[in-house]
Symmetry: C2
Subunit: 337 residues, 2 copies
């Protein structure tokens, strides 16, 4: 107990209660080894001095951390900001689920400078497991750690030969569905907005191509492959609209953020959506039904995805086996198509 009389640890409380520290520990844990009367007396005393045992000491002793590391690797685009809506939505779901399971969420935005960024977290002893939001270009590093460290799951692609466990949606199929929908709507001339350098995007584009091929329209695809973020998408699309004649009447955007910029650029060019041009986005982020017009999109059920991530992670923490999951994408038809 310090000079101000504050109870700082279990020993202080023990002295106050006239028992041993061990007894206090058990009493606070409500162990039946301690007589009910003593137990209640000690608990009351703790409440009175609003004392709460030190979590770190406890964790050290019982060898668990009570926290899950959620890492956002920003390998291929250092400038990318954590506030990109996709990350944020995912993070919200994870925070909810982890809180529910009594774990804290240790958030780190990581710019991989050396190959040790992941082991540093994993071996630090401050997390019971790790969730990666996106693999960036760090597949090798992740696989290396995954070989020896089980409680590790990533959101993202599931590439052939991949060691680490991942949850992600079937991007190829998503691209196909979007394209077929536009074909159904009568589109005959298409454009894809997005940069296939990212593997998920490449898979989506592949799906688009395959759907077009199946309908014998392989030649009807325009590509705007510029690297599109919230900031760069609008000018790029606007410029593209200036030079592209005729404007394709079916536009598939690689993400909702890009689609939103497309809607605005189209509106500024006096092109009506869905009158003249049909637009489909990707992700179904929360703002997708708030755009004008509300955005048709390929829904990646992030709530579901997050649930899978958590489920797999805790399975693995408790020693069970748990394998990668691929989610089915779903077309959400609103008014932009």
């Amino acid at each position: 107990m310090d000079d101000q009389g504050r109870v700082r640890n279990i020993t202080d409380l023990a002295r106050l209660a006239g028992v041993s520290p061990g007894t206090v520990s058990r009493a606070l844990a409500d162990s039946s080894l301690i007589a009910k009367k003593t137990r209640e007396r000690i608990q009351e005393l703790a409440r009175e001095h609003d004392f709460r045992p030190n979590v770190m000491a406890r964790n050290l002793r019982i060898k668990r951390a009570g926290a899950i590391g959620v890492l956002i690797p920003l390998g291929h685009e250092t400038g990318q900001h954590i506030s990109v809506p996709f990350f944020m939505t995912m993070l919200g779901h994870l925070a909810d689920a982890l809180t529910e399971r009594g774990h804290d969420l240790l958030l780190s935005r990581i710019i991989p400078k050396d190959p040790y960024w992941l082991s540093r977290v994993v071996d630090s002893g401050r997390v019971d497991g790790v969730i990666l939001i996106g693999q960036s270009d760090q597949n090798d590093v992740i696989d290396k750690v995954a070989e020896r460290y089980l409680p590790l799951v990533a959101w993202g692609a599931n590439l052939p030969g991949q060691v680490h466990c991942s949850v992600g949606s079937n991007n190829r199929k998503g691209g196909e569905i979007a394209t077929r929908h536009l074909i159904d709507r009568g589109c005959r001339n298409f454009a894809f907005f997005g940069d296939p350098i990212a593997p998920e995007i490449a898979e989506r584009l592949e799906g688009v191509r395959s759907a077009l091929a199946q309908s014998g329209m392989s030649d009807a695809l325009n590509l705007l492959p510029a690297h599109l973020t919230a900031e760069t998408a609008h000018p790029a699309i606007s410029q593209w609209l200036d030079v592209t004649k005729p404007i394709p009447n079916g536009i598939i955007a690689a993400s909702d953020v890009i689609a939103m910029s497309a809607l605005r650029a189209l509106s500024e060019h006096g092109v009506s959506v869905p009158g003249e041009v049909h637009v489909v986005g990707y992700d179904d982020l929360p703002f997708a039904n708030q755009t004008v017009p509300p955005l048709s999109t390929i829904r990646q059920d992030l709530a579901d995805g997050a649930a899978h991530l958590i489920d797999i992670l805790f399975r693995r923490i408790s020693g069970e086996k748990a394998e990668s999951v691929m989610l089915e994408p779903e077309l959400v038809i609103r008014q932009s198509s």
Copy 2:
């Protein structure tokens, strides 16, 4: 060292190096007390076995946590989801700043069920300080803890007599600026969308009223006080538009999320923006310049706000004094007004 020969702690490494654990500790900390030769040998050995000292044990010993708790209290609106863009944007900034200062970010979404939610975190010993994103309706609880616990800062209102330290923007002034702008645009009939139960919103509304009063138009204000979230805003506004004749030509929304829904509802009612109705939002969230038309709004500089939160927090952690800050709101004119 366990059966697999993995080095699990400094004692293992010490045995391997033929020195004492203390020496290993100092060597890894690169202390000059250890001969350079020994130091390098031990560091090399650690690298070889990729051993990293346990952070929790270290923290326990040196009595620091290396993490800052970021709490999102959801008192008055239990259903509110963490993914609300405002929280997310703020969180992104905080994550960046904390990472830069070598601290982890412990995220918790909190639904206050008892008055101990804050002390539980503060006294747990696992954080060096706490940032609250919003005060919700928990002012009493927060003030109580703030009396004895210094490293605590909140984003939000700065009410008279408030004990705890806060950073927030001048909401009253924001409301005034928005209103004056609409008056300049020629509006003579106004509406405010937002629920003044939340103190920030109430202050904004007050600003609106004051600006109108100054121009002798106190009577020209309509109020849609419904509790407006991303999900409920659109139907509420839509219905309001059905019954309100004539539609006011100056709309001040209490947040960008509400403004976005207003834009959509107006568009669906065939009302042109900014032709017939002028709309101003609040916050300047990232999507505000992506709407159709891009949204005029009162900018709360969240980057700046986050920087202040962090600055104050670390000041207080190191024992300095640091007081509340009020940020100046700024009108961003885009095309909705």
